[in-house]
């Protein structure tokens, strides 16, 4: 199990300070400003966020490629970094596996040599014999289906193959923890989708513990056991993919993952975990609310487009039913979006493409109360 406690990283380098984020009051700017998380054994833990949110810096701090400004990193009882005790184990002695965004395949070595390198540079006491190295390399190459390419120069591989080679190299020492830094972002769309499942399968079969960094929310949702959504050097929410999607804890998470309709509202009554709010366009009921607000609080309502049920006729027997006019219709093949104007609000609906209502039509829509999410206003 990996534990990261209040990890901080700031850049003092003047060039960085000049070009990047500089806080207005001139105080130290943190690329990572106090991050805590745990990665359990056998888990694929994803750091998700937009570029510059600190996810890669966090990963590199765990890797030992970057020296954090403060905090503590432990792996299975072994302290990797602790600024109070002055411990900072070198990247080469942490015994982790890492796959880089650019794959970082050594172009001057063959496929086999690329994979055998981590075994060859092990400390003498632990280093396996020549025979065993050969067996282990071949075994790993079989697992990732590169067995036939062992003697090729690494540069003769295609992008997808290089990606798998990078994975093999990280796997060959059977590390306690794998670090994956946007490993799929250089592949084309089709291959990327295949590799998602491939990676997931490998991770399950080999029972790997891994930290996965990506800015691609779809990738994160597909692959992760748990996701930490990061923004501006901080973690906004940690949770299972479904939780993150259906119950975003902050506006940022709701906006970053998927699309969402936001409505500002005031809480009018609270009964258990059922909350009634008032919006300029009418009342809304929300069920199964996690952080129950107080009556009179201002909150933000988040509704996913696919939770908006659009009908031509008014049903009347469902809660949270509003009326409006279709403003735009966008056909996207597998789904169709309608944007409905309600007063000065625009509500996006996502439906099966069998539904098609021309703009200008009067329509009605409703949202099931347990699909109405309350997000605290920041």
């Amino acid at each position: 199990m990996l534990t990261v406690e209040s990890l901080k990283k700031s850049y003092d380098d003047t060039a960085v300070r000049r070009s990047k984020r500089r806080s207005d009051d001139g105080s130290r700017v943190f690329a990572v400003g106090g991050v805590d998380f745990e990665v359990h054994d056998g888990e694929l833990f994803t750091l998700l966020g937009p570029s510059g949110c600190g996810k890669t810096t966090t990963l590199r701090s765990v890797a030992g490629l970057e020296r954090p400004t403060g905090g503590r990193v432990t792996l299975g009882g072994r302290v990797l970094f602790d600024d109070k005790q002055g411990i900072n184990i070198g990247a080469n002695r942490r015994g982790l596996g890492m796959v880089f965004q650019s794959y970082a395949i050594w172009p001057h070595m063959s496929v086999f040599k690329n994979v055998s390198f981590p075994l060859e540079v092990m400390p003498r006491a632990k280093r396996p014999g020549r025979k065993e190295i050969e067996e282990r390399v071949e075994q790993v190459l079989e697992v990732i289906e590169l067995g036939a390419y062992a003697s090729r120069p690494a540069t003769k591989l295609s992008g997808g193959q290089q990606q798998r080679l990078a994975l093999a190299r990280a796997l060959v020492t059977r590390p306690e923890l794998m670090l994956l830094d946007e490993p799929l972002s250089n592949l084309d769309a089709k291959l990327r989708e295949n590799m998602r499942f491939e990676l997931k399968r490998l991770q399950r079969e080999l029972n790997l513990t891994a930290i996965y960094v990506t800015h691609d929310q779809a990738e994160a949702l597909v692959m992760s056991s748990r996701i930490a959504v990061m923004n501006q050097g901080r973690i906004e929410q940690i949770g299972k993919p479904r939780e993150i999607y259906t119950r975003p804890a902050t506006r940022f998470v709701a906006e970053f993952i998927g699309t969402s309709n936001f409505v500002e509202a005031k809480v009018t009554s609270v009964r258990g975990d059922e909350v009634e709010v008032d919006t300029p366009q009418g009342r809304l009921l929300a069920h199964k609310v996690e952080k129950v607000p107080l009556v009179g609080d201002t909150v933000l309502i988040s509704i996913r487009p696919e939770c908006v049920d659009l009908t031509r006729e008014r049903r009347g027997d469902v809660p949270n039913e509003w009326s409006g006019t279709v403003l735009t219709r966008a056909f996207m093949g597998d789904v169709v979006d309608h944007i409905v104007g309600v007063g000065n609000l625009e509500i996006r609906n996502r439906s099966n493409p069998t539904l098609s209502i021309p703009p200008g039509t009067e329509v009605h829509f409703s949202v099931a109360p347990d699909k109405v999410t309350l997000v605290p206003v920041d």
């Binding site: 590199r60 080469n92 890492m98 880089f100 650019s102 970082a104 981590p118 540069t155 990078a166 670090l179």
Partner: protein, 601 residues
Amino acid sequence: MTVVPAPTTSRDDGPGSGHGVAPPPRGAAAGARLLRLLRRPLSLQGLLVGGAVVVVGYLAVVPLGYLIHDTFLSADGRGVSFAAFSRAYGGNSQSGEMLLNSLWFALGSAALALVLGTSLAYIQVRTDTPFKGLFFAASLVPLIVPGILYATSWIFLGDPSSGILNSLVFKPLFGSSPVNIYSVWGMIWVQGLHLAPVAFLLMVAAFRAMDPSLEESAAMSGASRLTVLRRVTVPLLRPAMISGALLMFVQSLESFEVPGLLGLQNGIYVFTSRIYFVLRAYPIDYGAAGAYAIGLLLIAAAGVLFSSWLQRSSRNFQTVTGKAFRPRPVELGRARPFVGAGVILYFLITVVLPVAVLVYASLLKYYAAPSSKTLSQMTFANYRTVWHQPLAFTALKNSLIVGIGAATAVMVLTSIVSWVVLRTRARGRRLLDLLAFTPIVIPGLVLGLALSFVYLRTPLPIYGTLLILLISYCTRYLPYGMRYASSAMAQMSPELEESAAVNGASWFQTFRRVLLPLMSGGILAGWVYILVVSFRELSSTILLYSPGKEVLSVLIWEQFENGQFTTLAALGVCMVVLLFLLVSVAYRFGARFGLQNDSAN
């Protein structure tokens, strides 16, 4: 065969690929294709392209042809003879010692430059060292301080009797004068320091082109720093280091300034100074000089072959992704102040000290190490001498005429040649590219000798005029012009030309109204660069100038031969100021076009 734009190939043929020192020739078929290309003479395009081919061929091939012909010609003017070689290398000519000196000097300088340049490049690119700006300031030294002045400065510093290092540092502290600049070690030191910035710039480019995650992934695999260096960093940088080493080697081999100023004093001869020596003796033995020149060419060619043999296995290292690398500098931590101090020290020794001593010497009547006496007698007399010397202004005028002429001619020529090479499918383009790059391995002194062979025999009134210097400079700087012109052209999408053609522009209209304006930045940068380097050209000029047609660098050389060191220093300071201004202007225009990557001399 028609000349058609070839957008698909032109990208692959960017300046990197064909511009190694010696791409392999394509054989006879290429020549035939070229001929067919030339048979389209009646279009303007054909004329321009054909003209460019003829001029490049003439500049690159004819002098060498004459050199070889005249050297092997027997005394009676008929048949082949090796008499010139036996005169040059046989008997008690001490040619073995000369050969050893040459190799020792060239290899030593190349090694020193490469080690210094590579370490500095690593520190600059890969660490969070302080004073990053100083690195590039130091890298401008070879552009601003010509070799002849740099060597002179080091004479002021390292002369065994009057040098500052001996009389102010070693004598008082250790009671001895160990520094002797008039030795092979002294020559290596000066040449190596002067070339180090070139190596630095080459290696900076190599480090920047190398994905740091290649090293990081090795560290993540458990390799120690030393193992990473040995098994990943060095093998990956090998191609760049080999071509850098070759460049340093060839440039040291052909350098005349340093062996001329520092070696002749103690009778330490290398090829270049021997050629000069033979040509200054009576009767002039042109055959023997030619024999030395051919020997020098052979060694340079052997160097080229050897380095391409070393490179044979590392051709396809260029690899992986098109993503820009996020530079993540290595944090030096506690070593940072020490590295910073080292950078300052390097800057002081290689830049501040030589320039300061030049300024100091220019203010003295007779050169002596600083003491209260010399400091109290400082005077501007030398500057007045320079000012009142009519020759100084003639030389400045001549330098400007030849420099501007060569810069203009080379950039016009190379714009056309690079268009042919990059944008057409003309099969001879490889050969043309090769021809345009050949002069980079021809030592200046050899070119000077070859050109004097050509024009001493030609009835044209060229020998003894400025025109012969112009021809020499055009030949020497053709490769540099090619680098600027072709990188400017490679930066431009072929679609821009194609859209002009689709809109009805003729080839010439497209060239003049689309290509030239878009390339103008790069061409201007190349123009100023050639102007700057032609100011300090000495090694071919010294054989080709005639009295009354001196240029600035020759004037400095004459002052040196007459022992007027302080006047030389004053003249040198003026020249440094002038070059500094020119380089600043060049930087304004050429920042985008990588002037800093081309300070090879």
